[in-house]
Assembly symmetry: C2
Homo-oligomer: 346 residues x 2
Amino acid sequence: MSKKISIAIDAMGGDNSPDKTLKGIKLFIDKIKYNSDIVLNIFGKEEIIKEKINKYKINSNIINVINSDTVVSDEESPMTAVKNSKNTSMWNCIKHQLDGKSDISLSAGNTGVLLVISRMILKMMNEVNKPALAGLWPNQNGMNVVLDLGANIECSDQNLVDFAELGSALYKSLFPNEKPKVSLLNVGSEEMKGTEILKIASKRLKNLSSEENFIYNGYIEGNNIMSGQSNVIVTDGFTGNIALKTAEGTAKFITKNLRKSLTENFISKISLIFSYFSLKKFKDKLDPRKYNGAIFLGLNGPVVKSHGGIDAIGFYHSIDLCYKIVKGDLMSEIKKNLKHSKSVQE
Amino acid sequence: MSKKISIAIDAMGGDNSPDKTLKGIKLFIDKIKYNSDIVLNIFGKEEIIKEKINKYKINSNIINVINSDTVVSDEESPMTAVKNSKNTSMWNCIKHQLDGKSDISLSAGNTGVLLVISRMILKMMNEVNKPALAGLWPNQNGMNVVLDLGANIECSDQNLVDFAELGSALYKSLFPNEKPKVSLLNVGSEEMKGTEILKIASKRLKNLSSEENFIYNGYIEGNNIMSGQSNVIVTDGFTGNIALKTAEGTAKFITKNLRKSLTENFISKISLIFSYFSLKKFKDKLDPRKYNGAIFLGLNGPVVKSHGGIDAIGFYHSIDLCYKIVKGDLMSEIKKNLKHSKSVQE
């Protein structure tokens, strides 16, 4: 019998937790109930969590509640996190993972603190210089992996090459039937464009491009991130963060104005009756909750950060993401990629 | 009598020119026909331009055609531009402006070449280190000025401070009844966020913030560019280019999927009958042609670059932009801002 997939969940992080997290857990369990190969290790105040499990009538067969009396505060800075976060629900998740009792950790709590304590407890992989935050982003053909989204404000060419390896491994674990196609985000597609660091990284990625590893597609501009021509978009954390948030802001601006237009008068309101199902499908496709979960890559184990303000459905999607990452054996994919790179004479 | 507003237009640059540019000129003249305070100096092959003026029945009262036999090629690189672009329609526009015969130049031709020859002919202002490309971007309350959009891949804190001065002067010239509110684009709003260069620039902008100059609003994140809280968004050319193109790509992705949803079946098509006018208003607000025209700032005179692929309506908007810039006396606003800055003990 194969080993069970074991997910450590910090039930206390983020807005409206643990109600939000436990409702998300219920959604997940209801969808995968036929599957007994999963264990959810839930960290938080045991009494409260058990009360919520009863309240929301959660099937607790695959649940394992582990008491943690304290919670990481939203005001905590990464600087003091190590001192003040010991034995919090977040800390205990990562510790559980380090001890081999969970395969992955998930929290909707303080991002900075999660990054610091994950790195401190799980440690960096020997082959990787800096960890990266990767996210999912819709594209015309399905889904992109984009990294780094803000863990590293400044990056070397080595960091960008590492991110390509890590990101394409993540892509393979999530979409085992697809091929990762890597692009470097830049201000133009010609070779002469961009910073010196990008030019060196691009040359190195060209050498590493292969069927087993990833196909390198060259530079990509911001307007093509969602075109589907590449599905692993590599950039430094400053640019990635600006790009992701600009896309979010643009989407919000457009949908807000669209909603306003479609409800501004009686006639346009009638149109909503006829377009209800079509607009619902449109909205579903763009629903940010589906893309909830940033994956912390480069450590000796994967850690997922759920958006703090997301609701139960969003949290459900981040649990599902954890499940897919472990099922797709991300860590093996990463090791395969890195081994392949080392073997290539650049 | 006040001096006429005189605009130099390169009729030959961009796709489908000179048809596109002359149709744009016709739209402009038709809208401002009551206004005899404007002169349009049109550069290109005289014979062809005069033929198009007849063909499109353009009122030529305020038109002055100036022959230029050659055109800057789209394949020309900025490196060889100076040698190969002399006496092209683009070159002659800028030269006309240098000679004081035009107040501003407009071209839809090769961006790199336009930047190089504008800088060479008009020269940098003494007070400014690097020129910037500024663009217009819709926000919830109206319009943003965003710069730099790609003229400078790497920027110092001094460049960013200059961009704030230039951008807020542009904002004042375009929207004389509004106050410029400057923000620096960053990965977070807290003081500790971002690169060292951003931190220094932010401190300096805080000192320069004043009622006459601009109000400095601190950092802004990508998701708030369009919120309207600030209206002059300052960033380096790499980040600005990525942000602008990512927003364009996101808008295109969303509207494409929306269109698909609303036309996928008979019922949803019916909805279009009822929402036609509302959707038209929505589309008009987001029409990228309205924001056509990047303004090259920091030289001894303003130069506007129209998107090469835009149609006649888009080109019309860039002529209108030139008109507003001169009417709003951009160069005086820039000088006022720079003088104020120099007088402030930082």
